[in-house]
């Protein structure tokens, strides 16, 4: 092809190469776009300050009295507009308790995705050569934190934070963390706790201040910060297995919340513990007879230990997850057969005040489910438990790629989402 032909035919060639029919994702992107809230027109200064016109119009002299009045009026209008704008901005949710459902985030093949369970639409939020995994939304839904593998350094990870759309990535770790096992946002969204492979509890702040080691020999519990202000942290100790501890958020004043030595039963902690969203109670599993695991709750002061529900038979109940209103617990269940096998059963939901256990959804994988309540408390996101076992070992948790299930709490029905998920997932909380 001659060079003059390139110039002449380039528009047609580019049309041939790139221009097709309307893209097949048309409906989806339009649906995603119009779900957003439009900015009111008065929030655009250009709509009510005729800046361009002012710039080109000849300057006319106004009478001295009118000019100051006009300026004062303009200032008043600006003040009113600023007040109205502040009032119209979407409110952030409280860090705990019911909230509006936002997006769900997860990792797959080293990238971070967000998806809308209502429409099924999916978007890659963070892409690149880096291997990213295990994203978690901050409790106000405005930020994402995830782990980024350091190239050529096995088992080393940076803690990276972005906005909720995946933009503005920055690392909070001046020195990479060795095989992090848990990441928890502080309720105010200003810092995160990371539990490393050596059971150290590290705090990383978004303001760039130096990381701090809060505690050693500690296992951070899920939802470890005590609501509503996060002034206490729930953890277990590697040198005192079977007990549950609480300390101040700065690492001071540790105290035992539950332990075999002081418990009114011959029992020990048998699984992860969680604060209720109202901060009054902690739920966890204990082994009351050396064979079973049963769900118990205890008050924030360590008093009032009691079993949540007593189903007939021999059961292992574990991995409690609180509903946002602190009224119900969803948890994994396995039933022991006469032959001695443990068979997984559908997720159970129990009212924390008592009553029977209600199974919901289809049976999860044999390892149980990762249970994540929707912020509005009306559904549950269920993922295979295998995804959590290899928190940092491989991009897709030892090759596991799963389709998430959304369970309607009211009906117990399951809906399989057409997403490929390779990590734990986190549901974004939105304000009203």
């Amino acid at each position: 092809m001659s060079t003059t032909r390139i110039d002449r035919e380039l528009p047609a060639i580019l049309d041939d190469l790139y221009l097709g029919p309307s893209p097949d994702y048309r409906d989806e992107v339009l649906a995603v776009a119009v779900r957003r809230r439009q900015r009111p027109s008065w929030t655009f200064p250009g709509r009510w300050l005729p800046m361009l016109d002012v710039a080109v119009r000849p300057v006319t002299t106004t009478r001295p009295l009118i000019r100051p009045l006009a300026v004062a009026l303009l200032i008043l209008v600006l003040l009113l507009a600023a007040l109205a704008f502040a009032g119209s901005r979407p409110r952030l949710p409280e860090p705990f308790g019911p909230a509006r459902n936002g997006l769900i985030t997860w990792a797959l093949d080293g990238d971070i995705y967000v998806g809308d369970p209502a429409t099924g639409s999916v978007r890659r939020a963070v892409a690149g050569d880096d291997i990213d995994r295990n994203p978690v939304f901050s409790r106000d839904g405005t930020h994402l934190a995830f782990l980024r593998q350091v190239p050529n350094q096995t088992g080393k990870f940076d803690l990276v934070v972005t906005d909720d759309a995946g933009a503005g990535a920055r690392s909070l770790t001046p020195v990479p963390v060795q095989l992090p096992e848990a990441v928890e946002w502080a309720p105010d969204g200003r810092s995160l706790l990371v539990n490393d492979q050596n059971a150290r509890l590290l705090r990383f702040s978004l303001d760039g201040s130096a990381p701090a080691v809060l505690l050693e020999n500690a296992h951070l519990q899920p939802d470890a910060f005590r609501p509503p202000h996060g002034d206490e942290i729930l953890y277990a100790r590697t040198d005192d297995l079977g007990a549950l501890y609480v300390m101040k958020a700065d690492g001071s004043e540790p105290r035992e919340l539950f332990g075999p030595r002081t418990a009114p039963c011959a029992c020990a902690l048998a699984g992860p513990a969680r604060w209720s969203p109202d901060g009054r109670t902690v739920a966890f599993s204990v082994n009351p007879d050396g064979l079973q695991q049963r769900l118990f709750v205890v008050g924030a002061d360590g008093e009032g230990l009691r079993q949540v529900a007593d189903a007939e038979g021999v059961w292992a109940e574990n991995d409690p997850a609180w509903s946002p209103d602190s009224e119900r617990l969803a948890f994994n269940r396995w039933e022991r057969s006469g032959a001695g096998d443990w068979a997984v059963r559908p997720i159970g939901i129990a009212n924390v005040r008592g009553g029977s256990i209600r199974p919901v959804g289809m049976s999860p994988a044999a390892e149980g489910a990762i249970i994540e309540w929707a912020p509005d408390g009306e559904s549950i996101l269920s993922l295979p438990g295998t995804l959590v076992e290899a928190f940092t070992w491989s991009p897709n948790a030892n090759g596991t790629v799963a389709r998430p299930v959304v369970i309607d709490v009211a009906t117990g029905g399951s809906r399989l989402l057409d997403w490929s998920v390779g990590s734990i997932a986190s549901w974004q909380r939105l304000g009203s």
């Binding site: 190469l17 097709g20 776009a33 119009v34 957003r36 900015r39 655009f44 250009g46 892409a127």
Partner: protein, 187 residues
């Protein structure tokens, strides 16, 4: 319905009006995004980002007649933003199926397109953006410069560089490969 009326309805929250407004542009937005980003998945992300911003900020558009140009600016910015974020990600090229070529020798026309495409692949996103705006959106160079926020001289030099690179590439690539001597004498 006239574009002006659709803009006004869409800016008052009318979903259908917004869909009708952007529908005629979607294919070309997608084309520009794929040319700049050379990754179908990222191009989709860029178009989605464009529509989100367009919907959100539409009430602030002062002149409804500028909607098309505004959309073009949004998609270009979304692409360049994604390209910056993508950094060293390997390029995944997915081309539109090439239909019947424009007259003449079909094999030659197909080869022309492949050569141009290969040449574009070697340009950086900033240069490809100039090519996309100028040739796919049909923008005059001053408008290209304004859209990209660069001086007119820079836009001209980028286009010149892009075309020169394409000419060199096409000229070099279209030379017949030297006959191999390792297979012995031709029959």
């Amino acid at each position: 319905m006239a574009q002006r009326a659709l803009v006004e309805r869409a800016s008052r929250g009318d979903h259908d009006a917004f869909a009708r407004l952007v529908d005629p542009s979607l294919a070309r937005l997608d084309a520009v995004a794929r040319l700049i980003l050379r990754d179908a998945e990222l191009a989709r992300d860029a178009v989605q980002e464009t529509l989100i911003r367009a919907w959100r900020d539409l009430p602030g558009l002062r002149d409804p007649d500028r909607f098309e140009a505004w959309l073009q600016r949004l998609v270009t910015n979304a692409c360049l933003d994604l390209a910056r974020r993508r950094r060293r990600r390997p390029m995944e090229v997915e081309l539109t199926t090439i239909h019947s070529p424009h007259g003449g020798d079909p094999t030659g026309a197909l080869a022309d397109r492949e050569l141009v495409d290969a040449a574009l692949r070697r340009l950086d996103p900033g240069h490809r953006a100039v090519v996309a705006l100028h040739y796919l959106f049909g923008m005059p160079l001053p408008a290209v410069a304004a859209t990209l926020g660069i001086p007119l001289g820079t836009a001209k030099s980028r286009l010149h560089h892009a075309l020169a690179a394409m000419r060199v590439s096409v000229t070099a690539d279209s030379q017949p490969a030297p006959a191999s001597t390792s297979r012995g004498a031709a029959t």
